[in-house]
Symmetry: C2
Subunit: 233 residues, 2 copies
């Protein structure tokens, strides 16, 4: 084995200088015609270092922002909606991509060539919030701010969130519908459950309906009569 | 105080039967003309129960899926690209919303009326992946599957991910560019860093360039010469 060994040089660790063959062969390092070399080899795993320490963060999706800008600056708009006298400029293609009702209206229906559509059954505020969701895929700030609290139970069906649920159902915008259902769900109480159940039923909001029914079963049947405290004076 | 008390009935807990006034007034319960009543009142916080146990989950954004369907079924398409003989049908509005280059081409430029555009400097596979991202806001499966490994360092610039970086830079699709940079970043090693740095520089990929330079400073200057092991036989 040592007949092949001429020079060993390892930098930084171990024996720092060259060893002459003649000296090595006559040294005490040779035992039974053998030289044992202890090597510690370090491996620099640079690819892993990079992905751990130097990864590049990809920002959140901005496709909604891009279409939102189109709605704001109205570039390329090819359809105008007249909602109770208020005008909204939009794009048939975006509306058709996002709503099956608009799709059949603009791609298969009679409104293909139309440039203005009059809407009589919606509040301008509600239509604005509907467009906001169609383009941006988020709830508008108006809806977010009023969505979680109601001033009174009797006015639930008059709130923006309830009207938006109706519009989302009417235009088949399913994710918006679920967002509205989720907001309304947070307001279910012993007082409001009947009103919200009626809304859910009217606008085919099956998730909200199921929650209302479950809530009623759990809270109304068992707890209400049993927690009543009668004191007669 | 007891002059007002007629009957007390509390269900489930405590005294279960009615107590006659005459009996009560002569009973030992009255001390110093006083009757102490210990009431434990439970409150059913039904609104909190609902939001905790019955919240409605809103699914992830599907706006990319909606526009992806438009790309697949080509409904409303108003522009065709001829890329090395392969035809791609698309929508000027979507392209303009997502790329400033297409925006100025279709909204401000000479191509407003054009119905076909010939592209000579891109591979059809790369253009297909670019369209996929523009509509769906995700990387196509082709790119995901080849993106993380390279067969050899010399061919990095020929990979789909490197060509897609070039296309994303050319059309100003910034998030796609960062996705490509993030993929290429995972492949930085002592062998590949120079090649990837050159790509990053050529296609204005500033994040990837910064990572390459940091990697080079940390790994090449210090570690390469010092980790060399010289063995002479």
């Amino acid at each position: 084995m040592i007949s092949l060994l001429y020079l060993v040089r390892i930098r930084f660790r171990g024996y720092k200088r060259f060893f002459r063959r003649a000296l090595l062969e006559t040294s005490d390092y040779i035992k039974d015609d053998c030289l044992k070399i202890n090597c510690t080899v370090g491996v620099v795993v640079s690819a892993i270092d990079c992905s751990r320490l130097h990864s590049i963060q990809v920002p959140e999706s901005n496709i909604g922002t891009h279409f939102g800008m189109l709605l704001e600056n109205m570039q390329g708009s090819d359809i105008t909606f007249d909602v109770a006298g208020e005008k909204f400029h939009a794009h048939k293609l975006v509306l058709a991509a996002r709503s099956p009702v608009f799709r059949s209206e603009f791609f298969d229906g009679m409104d293909e060539e139309k440039q203005e559509i009059v809407i009589t059954n919606l509040d301008p505020k509600v239509f604005k919030a509907l467009l906001h969701f169609i383009y941006r895929d988020t709830l508008s700030e108006d809806v977010e701010s009023v969505g979680s609290t109601f001033s009174s139970v009797s006015s639930i069906s008059e709130t923006l969130i309830a009207k938006l649920l109706a519009a989302a159902d009417g235009y088949g915008v399913e994710r918006l519908k679920l967002m509205c259902e989720s907001h309304l769900c947070k307001n279910i109480s012993v007082n409001s459950v009947a009103k919200i159940l009626s809304l859910a039923d009217q606008y085919h909001a099956s998730e909200l309906k199921a929650v209302c029914l479950r809530f009623a079963a759990e809270n109304l049947a068992g707890l209400l009569p049993s927690s009543t405290l009668y004191i007669f004076f």
